[in-house]
């Protein structure tokens, strides 16, 4: 079921004016924008926490908000994860998890055991919530929301209040979760990295307005994407693990019709992973050299050449049958010397590949 509507809200000096929107019915929609762009207010208005919000909102067939009525939050069957875990201090971890479970309506789709498994909270069950670390608290909060059997999960920067180590520790759980869950997930973040790792769709916000709702591929690769302001351009590709070359400690991946090698990871063959390739780590050669220490040469077609800065251009390259493009930052001098043009076929030599 998709969440669609149009919301307005004036709160102190801030004005939320979303315009018409339809959020996808499946996958993770990242709500991305600078702080103060209205992400949290928007999500809170979607959930029904902002009583002054006006407009209309429908979740599938259900009317959540119109001129006449507003469905109470406890009837909306949504899961909400706040920036701070907001666990109930008077209950232990298990009781917190069961709070929503006891009040859930309809069929139980998500069981306590599943949540314990997904979020690795088994050892925490009988602990007092005051004694948990930040990352543990947030995992319990996510589990608690899931056990209320929501039809949609809303998360407001669940990693924002965590330190780098806790973030690293919780991220794999989130990735696993987004793959397992059938319900739509709305996820606020101002981190481009979290978008790359988790999102299927990106909802861009600025000054209280929704400026665009785009599939990840488009969002990442459009010119001047707000995702990478003040950052070096890079491409995010989706790859499948094909072979494990045990003797070399390398994984062989397929991206579209091309092959890539990366250092082996704690992943399984057949898994889909996301790769990041910075544009300044990609160069173009006419043919793959016979002798070269570099491992990764990919056949590509030039799609578009854009100005990037004073001395270089950003070139969008397409790997055959790959959904997302590759980016290369090439000096103006080379572009002229090689007479690079769209539609030409080249080989991209890639120095650095990192996985998300």
């Amino acid at each position: 079921m998709s969440l669609a509507g149009n919301l307005s809200l004036i709160k102190d000096s801030f004005c939320l004016q979303t315009g018409d929107f339809i959020l996808p019915a499946t996958g993770v929609s990242a709500i991305f924008g600078l702080s103060g762009s209205g992400k949290t207010t928007f999500l809170r208005a979607l959930a029904g926490f902002e009583n002054e919000a006006t407009g209309q909102l429908n979740f599938g067939e259900q009317v959540w908000l119109n001129k006449k009525k507003s469905t109470p939050i406890y009837k909306r069957q949504l899961g909400y994860v706040f920036q701070e875990a907001s666990l109930f201090q008077h209950l232990d971890v298990k009781q917190n998890l069961e709070y929503g479970l006891k009040r859930a309506k309809g069929n139980q789709q998500i069981t306590l055991n599943q949540v314990i498994d997904w979020l690795g909270v088994e050892k925490l069950l009988n602990r007092d919530v005051a004694n948990l670390s930040g990352g543990e608290k947030q995992r319990v909060a996510i589990g608690r929301a899931l056990l209320s059997q929501p039809n949609i999960l809303m998360m407001d920067e669940p990693l924002a209040s965590l330190d780098v180590f806790a973030k690293r520790q919780i991220m794999p759980y989130l990735e696993k979760l987004t793959k397992e869950l059938a319900i739509p997930i709305l996820y606020i973040t101002h981190s481009a990295e979290e978008v790359e790792r988790l999102a299927d769709t990106v909802v861009f916000m600025a000054d209280g307005k929704i400026t665009a709702i785009e599939p990840l591929g488009e969002a990442l690769n459009k010119k001047n994407t707000p995702l990478y302001q003040h950052q070096e351009p890079k491409a995010v590709l989706s790859a499948v693990i094909k072979y494990h070359h045990v003797e070399d400690a390398l994984f062989e991946l397929s991206v579209g019709n091309a092959q890539l090698f990366i250092a082996e990871q704690a992943k399984k063959i057949g898994e889909t992973i996301r790769l990041v390739i910075p544009a300044n780590q990609v160069s173009l050669v006419k043919e793959q050299p016979e002798a070269s220490s570099m491992l990764n040469y990919l056949a590509v077609t030039i799609e578009e050449i854009d100005d990037f800065n004073k001395y270089s251009k950003l070139i969008r390259l397409r790997i055959e049958n790959a959904t997302l493009p590759l980016l290369a930052q090439i000096t103006n001098r080379s572009v002229q010397q090689l007479q690079l043009q769209p539609q030409q076929r080249w080989v991209a030599a890639i120095k650095t590949v990192s996985i998300l």
Partner: protein, 223 residues
């Protein structure tokens, strides 16, 4: 001399204090919840209104209550129209007066408790499917239990020591409206110091025991 001593005033005092406190817990809760939620000028006005009994001389409060509760007063008339006995110089009148007199002692701790709790736990609970009444009993009450303990104790203790308001609206009818504080006053007036001593000592010990239990409970709850 002790033959004249009646413990009836102590019993009346306890009854008035207990009823008053229970009523205050019931009406103080929604009032404090509402006060914790509103903001701005409205809040200032209503907070001031509720705090009035703290600063008004009890005789002033008692005087106005007497006017309202008396058979010719606004509330008294309605009350009697329903066929009830007059409110003034009755136990019911004493309880009504005490509820108003002790209102700030119940409402203020509860309000600060609710403000401290904030709306976040309640938002979390409602997203998890809890309805308003459910939220009160599963979240608000357990998380503000210490504030309830303080509110209960202060309201109870304050009502036990009440004098001026009760004298104005309840008079000094032995066995009906004569509470301990007034009985002690009467004994002193009549130069019956022994009786005054005994009643005073009992009140002193009782208050001390009640407070000790409360502080003990408070320590236990805070763990």
């Amino acid at each position: 001399m002790l033959a004249d001593l009646s413990l009836q005033p102590l019993w009346i005092t306890l009854q008035v204090a207990l009823y008053t406190t229970l009523i205050l817990m019931v009406i103080g809760t929604p009032l404090a919840l509402w006060l914790a939620r509103i903001k701005g000028k409205k809040k200032a006005v209503f907070e001031a209104l509720i705090a009035l009994p703290l600063v008004l001389p009890p005789t002033v409060l008692g005087f106005y209550l007497l006017l309202i509760l008396s058979p010719d007063g606004a509330l008294g008339q309605v009350w009697q129209a329903f066929g009830f006995a007059p409110l003034t110089f009755s136990m019911t009148g004493l309880v009504i007066g005490s509820v108003i007199y002790s209102l700030p002692f119940a409402v203020q701790p509860l309000m600060s408790g609710f403000e401290l709790l904030g709306k976040r736990p309640l938002e979390a609970a409602s997203a998890l499917g809890a309805k308003p009444i459910d939220r009160f009993f599963s979240i608000i009450l357990p998380l503000t239990r210490r504030h309830y303990l303080v509110a209960f104790t202060l309201a109870f203790a304050h009502t036990m020591g009440e004098f001026g308001v009760i004298l104005m609206i309840g008079g000094n009818i032995p066995g009906a409206t004569q509470v301990a504080s007034i009985a002690i006053y009467s004994h002193v007036e009549a130069m019956e110091y022994t009786q005054a001593h005994v009643l005073s000592a009992i009140l002193l010990v009782m208050s001390f025991v009640v407070l000790s239990i409360v502080y003990g409970l408070n320590r236990k709850l805070s763990r």
